[in-house]
């Protein structure tokens, strides 16, 4: 990663000097990091440190003011060249990323299964051979969606509507929904912050299983124990900058900077 720790330059994600400000407030002041396939990046830091903004920039929900984002060597965003950022282009680029929100944001009028299949079906309709193979394509999508729901332990909830599910179940549906599009990098924005502590566990367990399957993830979280255990690299954000980073054992077990030490004291 940064500092040439890893020589292999086949990065799946490369973020370079990312800047973002809202009005007068500079929220991201130059973020650099890269990920390799199968990496799990834990992003920690207090509220307002820029974690959410960084994830939203990766998912093109915010447009950075400066910097570059590349996936698999392809430059998806370059602040120096905004001409490529048409709505349609951005829509395609987004598909490299998935995002699991803090408040789930499931579609309330659809069942768990339909929440997972909807976006895939809409995308499938764009392919030229859709009409000819409609029945087969739809059956495949549904089968995969059922498998994804089974993976997050919700085989028996496929026909439930979001309001019939607990927060933890909703969040697991949201994870299955994000996985359905097979993103290169799956991002989590404090996935358990809206949940009761006793329910968080089931969501964290689902994410842990994804890590075991070597799915590349960026996780913003306040669950320090979980972050330490699941991640392969950790960054500590403060005031819009990466204040400290490294191996999770080092970052959590042996923090170098005063800032991270006091942060960890406060949250642990």
């Amino acid at each position: 990663m940064k500092g040439g720790v890893r020589k292999n330059d086949m990065a799946i994600l490369e973020v370079t000097d990312l800047h973002k400000h809202f009005g007068e407030t500079e929220v991201l002041k130059g973020i650099d990091f890269s990920l390799e396939r199968g990496d799990v990046l834990a992003m920690i830091g207090s509220s307002g440190s820029g974690k959410t903004t960084l994830l939203r920039c990766l998912n093109f929900l915010e447009t950075p003011d400066g910097g570059r984002i590349s996936v698999n060597g392809e430059t998806l965003f370059d602040a120096a060249d905004q001409s490529a950022q048409t709505e349609e282009a951005v829509r395609k680029k987004r598909l490299h990323f998935g995002l699991v929100f803090q408040n789930f944001n499931l579609f309330p009028q659809y069942t768990a299964l339909r929440n997972v299949t909807l976006a895939r079906e809409l995308l499938a309709k764009e392919s030229p051979d859709y009409r000819a193979n409609k029945a087969r394509i739809l059956a495949e999508i549904e089968e995969e969606a059922r498998a994804l729901l089974a993976q997050v332990g919700l085989s028996d909830k496929t026909d439930s509507y979001p309001h019939q599910l607990s927060g933890g179940q909703q969040q697991r549906v949201a994870i299955a929904r994000a996985l359905a599009l097979n993103p290169d990098i799956l991002c989590f924005d404090e996935p358990t912050s809206a949940l009761d502590p006793e329910i968080s566990g089931e969501v964290l367990a689902a994410i842990r299983r994804l890590a075991e399957r070597r799915i590349t993830m960026v996780i913003a979280t306040h669950e320090m124990g979980f972050a330490r255990e699941v991640s392969s690299y950790a960054i500590f954000l403060a005031d819009g900058l990466i204040h400290e980073e490294g191996d999770p054992e080092e970052v959590f077990g042996n923090p170098k900077t005063e800032r991270l030490q006091s942060f960890l004291r406060a949250v642990l």
Binding site: L61, R91, F97, N105, P108, P162
Partner: protein, 219 residues
């Protein structure tokens, strides 16, 4: 001595007027529902000028009596440009459609703006287009939310049709009033209220059913 009209005769006459009432109601609803959605989008446009024009339109229409609007639509073009008068019923329909589109637009706007931003963002990160997000994700939630205020407006529309007689469009009240002036009978006027009651009763049941059908999810 003029022969007193029978109940059957009065009913027949009132039904004739009620047909016109239903026509005004139906055509207005059919046209104002989509038009109002268009106005709502203009009111929420990212272009300031469009927003400004749309909001001014809504302000003018909601701030003047529908009665006056009907008169202006009917007499206005002739008086101002010397245009040929349009049919009376056409004038009523034009005025009603414009008026109700303005009211509906505000109901739509309230509903659309009440949907959490996260719903749009969830659609966006799943690679949906703007129109897919609106039609597949947002619309049904909006419909569910605006159903109660919308049924209010629609039931008001039923009774507002009585304003058509200001330019002598023979809707049900006008037929009933003829019995007052010709036969000195007041009861046909009271009787006309039964038609409104029945019509609005049916609408209320329909709205209730519709609300129930959308009760399977929470938005």
């Amino acid at each position: 001595m003029v022969a007193q009209p029978t109940l059957l005769y009065v009913t027949e006459q009132l039904l004739q007027g009620f047909g016109v009432t239903c026509l005004i109601f139906g055509v207005t609803l059919l046209c104002a529902l989509p038009l109002g959605l268009g106005v709502a989008f203009c009111s929420m446009s990212k272009y300031r000028l469009v927003r400004y024009i749309s909001k001014t339109f809504v302000w003018i229409i909601r701030s003047t009596p529908l009665l006056l609007q009907v008169i202006i639509v009917f007499y206005g073009p002739g008086l101002i440009w010397g245009a040929e008068a349009m049919g009376r019923i056409t004038a009523v329909l034009v005025a009603f459609i414009i008026n109700y589109a303005a009211y509906f637009s505000e109901v739509y706007r309230g509903g659309i703006e009440s949907i959490a931003k996260g719903q749009y963002e969830a659609g966006q990160v799943l690679g949906m287009t703007r129109s897919q997000i609106f039609f597949k994700v947002i619309l049904l939630q909006v419909v569910k939310r605006i159903l109660p205020p919308m049924s209010n407006e629609i039931i008001t529309l039923v009774k507002d049709t009585a304003l058509a007689r200001v330019i002598a469009v023979k809707e049900i009240i006008m037929f009933a009033q003829e019995f007052v002036s010709v036969n000195a009978l007041i009861w046909p006027l009271f009787y006309s209220g039964v038609f409104y009651l029945a019509f609005c009763g049916i609408l209320t049941i329909l709205f209730g059913k519709f609300e129930k059908r959308l009760g399977y999810f929470r938005a």
